[in-house]
């Protein structure tokens, strides 16, 4: 492969959006006056939260459907799983795994349905996806604000509105917070470190920056999975 000569002008034109964003972020960091450690910490946390979602956008783009604006449907289905574990109060890593087990088949079903709609609207996938997201939001509200408590009996004062019908706007998920990363922490603490006797305090931390290892590893695994799929 012949290496192309680096041309700053071409590089700038091709990557204009990231460059502008970088400048904006840089200015923002200076203007905010926050410490670099704090910003890096927040950045890494958010990276762990959002990376998986963003990576999931790759496949539809490659398949020629543009950006998957209907991604919210997958997120809603996952919330079904989360609400189930909240109702049965299954916490920790087990809770997260059960959520995945419940939501994946549902997500596949809704994915097939979405695909059918999108195949009927070729050339307009993005707007269809967008409207599909809004439509799903309507159904979602119907199920969780109206049906829960009336048709679907759920009795858990922690998540149900005081009127007995409908799920609260925000459900406390402390019981599974960071459970992926706490798992790593516990494994390290219990298996490795108990034998060696080294004191291990927080999650994996480098220079004051806490890193959610397992979450990021999961993202990397997904990235490799997508790369593997696209090879064929």
């Amino acid at each position: 492969m012949k290496l192309k000569k680096f041309n700053p002008e071409v590089f700038a034109v091709n990557n204009i959006v990231p460059i502008i964003f970088f400048i904006l972020c840089f200015g923002g960091v200076i203007a905010s006056g926050l410490s670099l450690t704090f910003i890096l910490n927040e950045l890494v946390t958010r990276l762990g939260r959002n990376l998986f979602i963003v990576i999931s956008l790759i496949i539809p783009v490659v398949a020629g459907m543009g950006l998957n604006f209907a991604l919210v449907i997958g997120a809603m289905v996952a919330q079904v799983g989360i609400i189930v574990i909240k109702v049965f109060d299954i916490g920790g890593l087990l809770g997260v795994i059960i959520t995945m087990i419940i939501s994946t088949p549902l997500a596949i079903i809704f994915g097939i349905l979405t695909g059918k709609v999108l195949n009927k609207t070729r050339g307009k996938e993005m707007i269809t996806g967008l409207i599909l997201g809004f439509f799903a939001n309507g159904i979602y509200q119907l199920v969780f604000l109206v049906f829960v408590g009336t048709i679907i009996p759920v009795k858990n004062p922690e998540i149900i509105l005081s009127s007995g019908v409908g799920i609260k706007n925000a459900v406390d998920l402390k019981f599974i917070q960071y459970s992926l990363d706490r798992f790593v922490e516990n494994v390290i603490r219990n298996t490795l470190l108990s034998h060696t006797g080294i004191k291990y305090e927080v999650q994996v931390a480098i220079g004051g920056v806490t890193i959610p290892v397992l979450t990021l590893l999961l993202c990397v695994a997904l990235a490799f999975f997508i790369k593997y799929i696209m090879k064929d």
Partner: protein
């Protein structure tokens, strides 16, 4: 029976038939519940007159080939700007409404022209781009409402003395002036003649415009851009005219809406308004490529009757949360989805 329904669906389209059946069911339930039917009819008439022009604004966009104007919120913002300017000038009554309309026309026209330049560069993706342009401009204007130097005490926050309120009460100024003009009252039944007449006038003007030479050129450009440009029609120009008209109607529409509602809603309220208008014209039987005045009329009548009458009936059946709002979301987006799947038939 099945043949009868198939016949109806072939003739009027599935959404129209489904919505009509739903409305009939609602009316029967309303009578059984002992609801006040004349009030329900009056409310529906007010809502039809209120939203009519916003739905009519979809027509020039679809006819000129840019599809349903999902960026209508830009025109709505122009109309809102004109309304607050009219209040700032301390106008009231019918003068305020027409002053606002006159101010809004150049503003919305300019917005429409600039927006059309963008839309002409993203052919095929007008709907997505329009939605996002609408979203981003609503947010931009939310900043503007806060920092624009308005001084009228009726509009600005009581505390702080800067920035416009989220809802401005205009009932003392020009609330319902158009509704009350020549209005008819029979017992509980109220007919907002003035607003209905104004909506009718706009429809007639649009119909006349579309049958002029210019209007036919716009329709031709929308129908078949390749053929139109081969016959010497500047397609981009026709699309620009369509977009400008659509935005102006959006501005006029929100002024009529605000006077009927007696409140001016700023900030996030224009965000989802285009979707309701798109849903209405699609219920009327329009597709994203063809539309007529009769689609506008039947669409706005059916959609608004559905929304207005379902609210008291469903609230009595199931007094839970905001189920009427949920139904509005499902129906309007469901209809838009249905229309997209019907017209998108580019199999291959």
């Amino acid at each position: 029976m099945k043949g009868f329904f198939n016949n109806l669906i072939n003739r009027y389209g599935f959404p129209k038939v489904a919505i009509t059946i739903f409305i009939i069911v609602i009316f029967i339930t309303a009578i059984l519940q002992g609801q006040n039917i004349p009030v329900m009819i009056s409310d529906s008439l007010v809502r039809i007159a209120m939203n009519g022009i916003l739905v009519l604004a979809m027509l020039p966009g679809i006819v000129s080939g840019t599809g349903p104007n999902f960026g209508l919120s830009i025109g709505i913002l122009g109309g809102l700007l004109a309304t607050v300017l009219a209040i700032e000038l301390n106008l009231s009554g019918m003068t305020a409404v027409f002053a606002a309309i006159i101010i809004s026309i150049p503003i919305c026209g300019l917005f429409g022209y600039v927006y059309a330049q963008l839309i002409n560069r993203v052919k095929g993706d007008e709907m997505t781009v329009g939605t996002y342009m609408g979203f981003s401009l609503v947010s931009l204007m939310s900043i503007a409402w806060l920092i624009l130097p308005f001084t009228n005490r009726e509009m600005i926050w009581v505390l702080g003395g800067k920035g416009l309120r989220t809802t401005i009460d205009v009932s003392a100024r020009f609330g319902k002036v158009m509704n009350e003009f020549l209005s008819i009252r029979i017992g509980d039944l109220f007919i907002p003649t003035g607003t209905l007449l104004f909506f009718g006038l706009c429809c007639v003007l649009m119909w006349l415009f579309l049958s002029t030479k210019k209007g036919i050129a716009i329709t031709a450009a929308g129908d078949n851009p390749v053929f139109a440009s081969a016959s010497g029609i500047d397609v981009n120009r026709q699309r620009t005219i369509g977009m400008v008209l659509s935005m102006i109607l959006g501005g006029v529409g929100i002024i009529v809406y605000s006077q009927s509602y007696a409140f001016v809603q700023l900030y996030q309220s224009p965000l989802m308004m285009p979707f309701a208008a798109v849903a209405a014209i699609l219920i009327g039987g329009a597709t994203d490529k063809t539309a007529t005045i009769s689609n506008v009329l039947s669409g706005v009548i059916l959609f608004q009757i559905l929304l207005t009458t379902s609210l008291p009936v469903i609230n009595k059946l199931l007094p839970v949360g905001n189920i009427a709002e949920v139904i509005r979301i499902i129906v309007s987006n469901g209809i838009i989805l249905y229309a997209l799947t019907k017209s998108g038939g580019k199999e291959g």
